[in-house]
């Protein structure tokens, strides 16, 4: 019986390990907010590298020209929702 289990493990073990590693990777992605980032990209705003934007504004590469066509949102509303 033990010999049979070992033979099966040798054959199916790598596949089982691959499945486990995939589950761990998906779990990590979800817990680190990967899904949230994806959702944001389709809900009307994007998380950007704000430090890089500010740095390039200070160096003159980009501008802090105030845009037209916007208003300040009411405070109670949830971030990222339209």
């Amino acid at each position: 019986m033990t010999a049979l289990v070992l033979r099966h493990w040798r054959r199916d073990g790598p596949l089982a390990l691959l499945l486990a590693a995939t589950l761990v990777a998906v779990g990590g992605f979800v817990s680190r907010g990967g899904l949230r980032d994806l959702a944001e990209a389709t809900q009307g705003w994007r998380r950007i590298d704000t430090a890089a934007v500010l740095q390039r504004i200070s160096s003159g590469d980009l501008q802090d020209h105030e845009a037209l066509w916007y208003h300040v949102a009411p405070q109670a509303a949830g971030v990222g929702r339209r």
Partner: protein
């Protein structure tokens, strides 16, 4: 300080501090929305007017063309994705060109128009408006090459300083807009009607993509809509798709599909229908809808002959819609 809501396009992005709109270049800093690419184009070129394509607007003239990073659409087949699908902070090239410098440079280069193009100029509309106003004051025309995904009030304001539009009507199907472009069809149609109401010169482009929007019944419906809402004299350009960006799995549009689309639009009654991105001397030239006289002969983007006389057919005198002088 807090979130802001952008009112420029139908996406109405609600942007928290430190975030950007879906376009990547309109950024909320300290509770105020900033147009970060104002005066910072990443592409500057001189193109022939025919490349826009605008076939009934100052034919054969050079156009000083500018674009910044960013876009409010995310078309899977975008041909300028390295420019349009990036924020300003991700660009290696950022020219410093304030509106007056753009106008001065355009004049120095002998251009009679400035084009706002390549990405979608809607997302840098403040820069467009200021540049176009100065360009007008110095005798230059302004052309706007766009997907037309913009709200009515900002569009009406832009129409005050823009002379011609080529609007990309990507398909006559809301599902296509949602799946391929992350947008909706209706605002684009509304924008086209607004352009017509405002009196700017308008041409329409439709990129024909195999299996996705090459259904001839849909092309017929689109052509009818253009005829009824914009007028039979509105030029329509069918353009050939090339595999790009996230849509490399489809082949280039067969010439036969473009010819069929051209024929459908002609049958519906559109008078000026063209084929682009494919060498077709006949479907790239302008003919009198009344007597068939060859009016403007083109080879690719080059005007070989312009036979119009005061904007009319030299044979029968039929007035041809467009801006010719």
């Amino acid at each position: 300080m807090g979130e802001v809501v952008c009112e420029l396009c139908p996406k109405a992005c609600r942007i928290p501090e430190g975030g950007s709109g879906d376009c990547r270049v309109r950024v909320n800093l300290d509770g105020r929305l900033r147009a970060t690419t104002y005066g910072r184009p990443s592409a500057i070129h001189i193109d022939p007017m025919e490349k826009k394509p605008l076939f009934h607007f100052h034919p054969g003239t050079p156009v000083f063309s500018i674009a910044t990073a960013g876009c409010n659409l995310h078309c899977k087949n975008c041909q300028n994705w390295q420019l349009s699908q990036r924020g300003g902070e991700e660009m290696e090239v950022l020219f410093r060109a304030y509106p007056q410098e753009v106008v001065d440079r355009a004049r120095e280069e002998g251009c009679t128009s400035v084009a706002y193009t390549y990405s979608d100029p809607i997302i840098f509309s403040e820069y467009v408006y200021d540049t176009a106003e100065l360009a007008h004051a110095q005798g230059l025309s302004n052309v706007f090459i766009t997907a037309g995904y913009i709200n009515r009030d900002p569009l009406r304001k832009l129409c005050r300083v823009l002379d011609a539009f080529n609007t990309d009507l990507k398909a006559f199907d809301d599902g296509f807009y949602r799946d391929v472009c992350s947008a909706k069809l209706k605002p684009v149609l509304d924008g086209l009607v607004t352009c017509r109401e405002e009196g700017a010169w308008l041409e329409v482009t439709n990129l024909v993509i195999p299996t996705l929007n090459d259904d001839m019944a849909m092309i017929r419906r689109m052509s009818k809509w253009i005829r009824d809402e914009l007028g039979a004299g509105t030029p329509l350009h069918f353009s050939r798709f090339q595999p790009m960006y996230r849509m490399r799995n489809l082949p280039p549009t067969p010439a036969e599909s473009l010819t069929k689309a051209w024929q459908e639009a002609r049958d519906v009654g559109l008078e000026y229908v063209y084929i682009g991105n494919l060498y077709d001397r006949k479907a790239g030239s302008t003919y009198c809808p009344k007597d068939g006289t060859l009016l403007i002969e083109r080879m690719g983007f080059r005007v070989i002959a312009n036979n119009l006389v005061n904007g009319a057919c030299p044979t029968c005198g039929q007035t041809i819609p467009g801006v010719w002088t």
